[in-house]
Structures are given as C-alpha cells and as structure tokens.
Symmetry: C2
Subunit: 136 residues, 2 copies
C-alpha cells in the first residue's frame, strides 16, 4: 500500500470532521468554497463512507468525478458499480448510497455539491462488512 | 507536440460548436449534462478562447479545475495567471476573461458551469496575438 497516493489534486489533510461517518482513513482537500462547493476526497484501501442521503427540497445531490485508483459506488437495493479514473457519477438528491475505495486500492474522486434549496445530509449505518468484502 | 495528450478524463471530440470563439484547436468532452454541467476542455499548444463574459442575473460564472499541461487565465485589465495541474480558478459572473494553453504546451481543465438565473455567455474579441506571445 503506497502511502503517497495522490492525483492531480493534492490529497489534503486527514478528514477528521467526517471521520465518524467513514470506516477507515479518508483525506479531504477543499478546492472551492464559493459558487459551487468542491472537495477532493481520497480513501485509503478499504476506506468507505457510511450509507448516506443528500436531501434537498429542490436541486441538491452530488457529482463524483473519479481522479485515481479504484473504488465503488452503490445505491440502496442495487448492485455496486466499480469506479475507475475518468468515471462520473450523478447522485440524485434523496437516494441512499455509499462510495469508497476497493478493499485493495487507494481511490480518489472530486465531490461536487449540487446547489439546491434546504440541502442537508443524512448519515446512516456503515456498509455491512460482509457485503463490502464481497467486492472484488 | 504530442498529439495523444490526455488527462484522467478523455479528451473527447474536436470542439466544433465553439470553434468560432477559439484561436487554434480545442476538444470538448461533456462529463455531466444534469445537476451541474461539467465539460473537460483540452487545448492544443497555442490554443485559447476569445475574451468572454459569463452573464447571469443571479449566481452563474464558471470554475476551472486544471487537470493537465500548462495554461493561462487572464481577467481584463489584470496580469495573466499561469495555470498548472491542480490549480482552481473561480470565475465570477460578469468578469471579462480568457483562458487557454501556453504557446508551447497542451492544456486541459474541467469547466464547471455555476448554476444561476438567466445565464448566458457573451463572446468578445480574440486575445491580441502580440499580448499572447508575451506569455512565457
């Protein structure tokens, strides 16, 4: 496991603020705090966020732009989708989902917060270890 | 000049739709057409867009996330800013500006369209050749 994994965007500091919603170590580098909020999120191998929902009364949701490594995106009740550099995920508001690294690979994506009205995140349970370990 | 320049995001097709607003060859690969519009724009060495303004009654403007090569961003009346991979530019609505490749380098950035009300682009004159050639 190479500790120096970075993409074109700097990895940033340990993502302590959201650590309670993640399994494993993630890193966060905020790239834009005005106009549209954009962060670069990096996951160590095996790291993923809990199931969560981006709520909004109008608009909202998130767009992921994968910049490095190999990871996964899964919506509740659907099969997990493998993510590789260059992949794009449009996450609608209201959809329960998680994303993170593959068990054996670093992973990084830009997270673009889609503007909306009364946006807020609901954090749910961790991804079941048994289910996560089935990922290739 | 390496013809196969790409970044983590595919280069896409020749940007014919906007060619009249560019000097030189650019390429456009739309990454998201919903939620927030995002394109990957690639410029051949020497290629740049004309001076232009992102107008909006509210919100609007554009964010550039540089993914490869070396380029330039300049606002009217200000010095040109060199752009390298990892750089971020928040372009407010109403500001006349241009961006493009350095004379001797390919260049690529993601262009994130900031949502707004009554957004529209005003395309102006090309960057003066004499001024552009002064760039290093």
């Amino acid at each position: 496991m190479h500790q120096e994994f970075t993409t074109v965007f700097a990895r940033g500091a340990k993502n302590d603020a959201y650590a309670k919603y993640f399994v494993g170590q993630s890193y966060l580098n905020m790239l834009s705090l005005e106009q549209v909020v954009i962060g670069n999120v990096t996951f160590e191998p095996g790291c993923r966020n809990n199931w969560h929902i981006h709520h909004a009364d109008k608009g909202g949701g998130q767009i992921l732009l994968v910049t490095g490594g190999r990871g996964c995106y899964q919506e509740w009740g659907k099969e997990a989708r493998e993510l590789l550099p260059g992949d794009v995920v449009n996450i609608p508001a209201g959809v329960k989902h998680w994303h993170g690294a593959a068990p054996n690979s670093w992973f990084a994506h830009l997270a673009i917060e889609v503007p909306g009205e009364n946006t807020r995140n609901e954090w749910c349970e961790p991804v079941a270890e048994k289910e996560y370990r089935l990922l290739k």
